[in-house]
C-alpha cells in the first residue's frame, strides 16, 4: 500500500501542473502582502487573511481529485495499472490517500509561507487586535473539513467518468453552485435543505454565534450528515471502480 501511494505521489509531483499550483499560491500571498504593506498589520493578521486563500486550495483539490482516476482512463494507462497482482480497492485507496496528502501539503505550505511573508512584510510584533495563533489554526481546521468533503466528492466523480476533462468540469460546476443552492434553499427555509451536504460542510456556523443555515441544525447533526455523505461517496466510487469493465 505504501508503495502504491509512493507511485501516485510520483505521478502527481512529476507533473508540472502540480508545481504551477504551488507557485501560484505563494505568488498570490506575496501580491497580497504588497497590497497590504502600508496598512497597520501584524504577521498574525496577515496569516489570518491568508487563511482565506484556502478557497484556492479547494480549486486545486477539485482539479487533482477529479482527475486522478479519470486521467488514467483518458490516457489508457489504467489497464496497465489494473493487470497487476493488486486489488482495485487498494489502487483506488492509494489514489485517494495521495490526494489527501497533496491537500495537506498545500495547507501546511500556505500556513508556513503566510508566517514567513508576514514576518518579512509586517515584522514580528504581535497583533493589536484579537487575532491569535489559535484563531488562525482554527480557521484552517474548519477549512480542512470542507476540503475533505469537497475532495471526496470530486474523487467520486473522478471514478465515475472516463474523461478527466468532463470530471473536472462537473466537479467545478457542482462546487460553485453549492453555496448558491444552500442560500436559495435557506431563503425559502426549505425543511430538507439541512440534509444537503453543503449546508453542513462549514462548521463555523456553530462556533461564531451566527445563525445556522437551517432551523434545528446542531453540530452533532452536521457531523452525522458529513459522515453519511463521506461513506456514501466512498461506497459509490469503490463500487463503480471495482465493477467497471475496462475497455480503453
Amino acid at each position: 500500500m505504501l508503495n502504491l501511494v509512493q507511485n501516485e505521489n510520483m505521478k502527481l509531483y512529476l507533473r508540472i501542473r502540480t508545481w504551477i499550483m504551488v507557485g501560484l499560491l505563494v505568488l498570490i500571498q506575496i501580491i497580497f502582502a504588497f497590497f497590504l504593506e502600508n496598512t497597520v498589520f501584524s504577521w498574525l493578521a496577515f496569516a489570518d487573511v491568508s487563511s482565506y486563500l484556502t478557497s484556492i486550495i479547494a480549486i486545486y483539490a477539485i482539479v487533482t481529485a477529479s482527475s486522478i482516476v479519470a486521467s488514467e482512463f483518458s490516457s489508457g494507462t489504467i489497464k496497465m495499472l489494473l493487470i497487476r497482482p493488486v486489488s482495485r480497492t487498494k489502487i483506488l485507496m492509494s489514489k485517494y490517500i495521495s490526494v489527501l496528502l497533496y491537500i495537506s501539503f498545500l495547507l501546511i505550505l500556505n500556513l508556513l509561507t503566510s508566517f514567513i511573508i508576514g514576518f518579512i512584510f509586517f515584522g514580528s510584533a504581535s497583533a493589536s487586535n484579537d487575532i491569535t495563533l489559535g484563531t488562525v489554526l482554527q480557521n484552517y481546521g474548519f477549512t480542512s473539513i470542507e476540503l475533505l468533503m469537497t475532495a471526496t466528492f470530486a474523487f467520486m466523480i473522478s471514478s465515475l467518468f472516463r474523461s478527466s476533462v468532463l470530471s473536472i468540469i462537473l466537479s467545478f460546476i457542482i462546487h460553485f453552485f453549492s453555496s448558491t443552492v444552500v442560500l436559495v434553499l435557506s431563503q425559502f427555509n426549505y425543511t430538507y435543505g439541512k440534509f444537503f451536504l453543503y449546508s453542513n460542510t462549514d462548521l463555523r456556523q456553530y462556533f461564531y454565534g451566527n445563525q445556522t443555515n437551517f432551523e434545528g441544525m446542531t453540530l452533532t447533526f452536521s457531523i452525522f450528515i458529513l459522515i453519511v455523505y463521506f461513506v456514501l461517496f466512498h461506497f459509490v466510487s469503490l463500487y463503480a471502480f471495482k465493477k467497471r469493465d475496462v475497455v480503453v
Binding site: 510520483m10 512529476l14 496497465m80 489494473l82 497482482p85 469493465d245 475496462v246 480503453v248
Partner: protein, 303 residues
C-alpha cells in the same frame, strides 16, 4: 485440471449489451508453450485477453492461471502473469525508467538490477531516461514488453506485440519468446501477422466471431509434412514431363504451364517426381515450392 497447463480458459462467454462477443471459448496453454491467437478484426482476441487479465468481468465460465481461478483469487493468479493489452500505454510525462519503477513497485521483490536487466534485454539502455512522450512507437512497444517481463511471470500475454516493431525487433522478440519457452515460460500471443504466427507459435487457435473454430499444432512435424505444397517444375519439355508424371503418379491437381507444369505435392514426394523426370532425360531448370501456408488455411477457414 492437468498439471502441465498454465492457463485454462473454460467455457467463457461474454455479452456486451446483449450481444454475444465471446461464445463458449475453451482452450488451454501448456507450460513452455507459445500459443497463438489468430483471427480477423473484431474476432474477440482482445476481449478474451481482457477477461484473462481481469480488465473485464467474465460473463460465464472460469479462467484458471497456474491452478488459481481469477474469479476466486485474482491477486494470486496475476502474480504469474505479465501482459500487454492492445497498445501499451505508458505515462508519457515520466521517463521509461520511471515507468518501470512504477510497475516494479506494484509487485514485491523486483530489484533495481532486474529493472536494468530488462532494459538491456529490450535494447533501450540509451534512451531509458528519456521521457516516454519522446519515444517512437516501436520503443513504446519495447517498453511495454519490458514491463510485462519485470516480475518474471510464468505466463506472458501479448496482444499484438509485433505492432510497431521493426523486423529486427520482431526477430528478437521471437527468439526471446522461444528462449523463455525453453525455460518453461508460456506465452499467449495474438496477432494479425499470420506468417509471423507460423514462425513464432507451437499451436495456433483460429478465432472468428467469438468462437474458436480450429486449433492447429505447428510443432507437430507429421502434420506439418501433411501440408500440401504447390510445386512448380520448370523444364525443357513441359508436355512430355507433364504426361510422364501424370501417368506415373496419377495426380489429379496438375496443370501444364508454358515452360513447365505445376502440381500439389507433399514435401517428401518432390524428390521422387524429380527423379522420374531425370530418368526420362528431361532437363529441369528450377523447382519452386510454395507451401500452402497457415495464411491460406486461415483465409480458407475464415472466409
Amino acid at each position: 485440471m492437468t498439471q502441465s497447463s498454465v492457463l485454462e480458459v473454460k467455457n467463457v462467454t461474454k455479452k456486451i449489451n446483449n450481444k454475444t462477443i465471446i461464445d463458449q471459448i475453451s482452450f488451454s496453454v501448456n507450460r513452455g508453450e507459445i500459443y497463438g491467437f489468430l483471427g480477423p478484426n473484431g474476432a474477440g482476441k482482445t476481449t478474451t485477453i481482457r477477461m484473462i487479465v481481469g480488465l473485464m468481468s467474465l460473463g460465464e465460465g472460469d479462467i484458471i492461471i497456474n491452478g488459481t481461478s481469477i474469479s476466486k483469487n485474482f491477486e494470486k493468479a496475476m502474480h504469474s502473469v505479465g501482459a500487454i493489452v492492445e497498445n501499451p500505454e505508458m505515462y508519457k510525462f515520466l521517463s521509461g525508467y520511471q515507468n518501470l519503477v512504477h510497475y516494479a513497485r506494484m509487485i514485491p521483490g523486483i530489484s533495481k538490477a532486474r529493472i536494468l536487466e530488462v532494459t538491456k534485454l529490450i535494447g533501450l539502455e540509451d534512451r531509458i531516461h528519456d521521457k516516454v512522450k519522446r519515444y517512437s512507437l516501436g520503443m513504446r512497444q519495447r517498453l511495454g514488453i519490458a514491463q510485462a517481463l519485470l516480475h518474471k511471470p510464468s505466463l506472458l500475454i501479448l496482444d499484438e506485440p509485433t505492432n510497431g516493431l521493426d523486423p529486427a525487433g520482431i526477430r528478437e522478440l521471437r527468439d526471446y519468446l522461444r528462449q523463455l519457452a525453453n525455460e518453461g515460460i508460456s506465452t499467449l500471443v495474438s496477432s494479425h501477422l499470420l506468417s509471423e504466427m507460423e514462425l513464432m507459435c507451437d499451436r495456433v487457435a483460429i478465432i472468428k466471431e467469438g468462437k474458436i473454430i480450429d486449433v492447429k499444432s505447428l510443432k507437430d512435424s507429421s502434420e506439418h509434412r501433411e501440408l500440401q505444397n504447390k510445386v512448380i517444375f520448370e523444364v525443357n519439355q513441359p508436355k512430355k514431363g507433364f504426361d510422364i508424371i501424370k501417368e506415373k503418379f496419377e495426380y489429379k491437381e496438375m496443370k501444364l504451364l508454358e515452360n513447365g507444369f505445376v502440381l500439389l505435392l507433399k514435401r517428401e514426394e518432390i524428390p521422387k517426381v524429380n527423379q522420374s523426370l531425370v530418368k526420362e532425360e528431361i532437363l529441369i531448370y528450377s523447382i519452386n515450392s510454395t507451401s500452402k501456408s497457415l495464411e491460406d488455411q486461415f483465409l480458407e477457414l475464415t472466409n
